[in-house]
């Protein structure tokens, strides 16, 4: 049986629903139909500090540790941070380019969780 790594992205994942999605992906993946090998989840955020802190939080999460779902505990899932600001097209292009370079074969899924709002002006810079 061939082992195929799965690649996932969850945007706006340093807190809120995004963070919970990453957490639950790690918990659910082992018994999901998609399971074919290890899972790499990119957690994105606008701030490197908040993004990395969120990963640390997950890596110390009692439920995740007990369930042994993270690679550090012998499980399937590895977490990685990448910056992404969905209000900046340059940020979107940069992340897309990064993913294409890292994963020529493609990726498996993206959860477009990040939302942005502004008052009175156009949101996207270009």
């Amino acid at each position: 049986m061939s082992v195929e790594r799965r690649i996932a992205v969850v945007t706006g994942a340093n807190k809120g629903v995004g963070l919970a999605i990453v957490r639950n992906l790690a918990l659910e993946y082992p018994r999901s139909p998609l399971r074919s090998g290890p899972l790499l989840i990119y957690l994105t955020a606008r701030s490197d500090e908040r993004g990395r802190k969120a990963i640390e939080e997950l890596q110390n999460d009692t439920q995740l540790r007990t369930a042994k779902v993270l690679a550090q505990d012998g499980g399937d899932t590895t977490l990685s941070y990448h910056s992404l600001d969905i209000s900046q097209s340059s940020s979107i292009q940069s992340f897309a380019k990064f993913l294409k370079q890292q994963h020529h074969e493609g990726i498996d899924f993206v959860v477009n969780n990040a939302g942005a709002h502004t008052f009175g002006s156009n949101l996207l810079d270009s």
Binding site: A8, G16, V17, I21, N24, L25, H117
Partner: protein
Amino acid sequence: MSGKLNKYSSDIRDAFLKASTADVPAVTQLMERFKSAVAAGKEKEDGFPSAAYAVSKAGVTAATKAIALEENRRGTHVLVNACCPGYVKTDMTRGGGAKTPGQGAKTPVLLALGDIGGVSGGFWQDERQVEW
């Protein structure tokens, strides 16, 4: 739940449905129409609710459906779906909400990992497809 089409005039509702089976630019055009109507103080007259958030969510769903159709036409087998996680208690709601983040994550996780029977272009809530 935000983003459903029941708050719109039948004209605008038809415009959303049409845009969702056309392409993303058609959806953008509808969003621009809303913005112009708001600028003129006439959004209600034009058939929209006076609510940017709700209209933007309907726009996201329409765009999702348009992209799903596009992928389907290209034969890529990529499934594209939209969902409403529900009213979740987070910083975004400033503490208001009926669900925990873990509960809010259920439908997105299902769409990502689960067997959803090859559905694409769907609108989901509470782990099942619902009418837009």
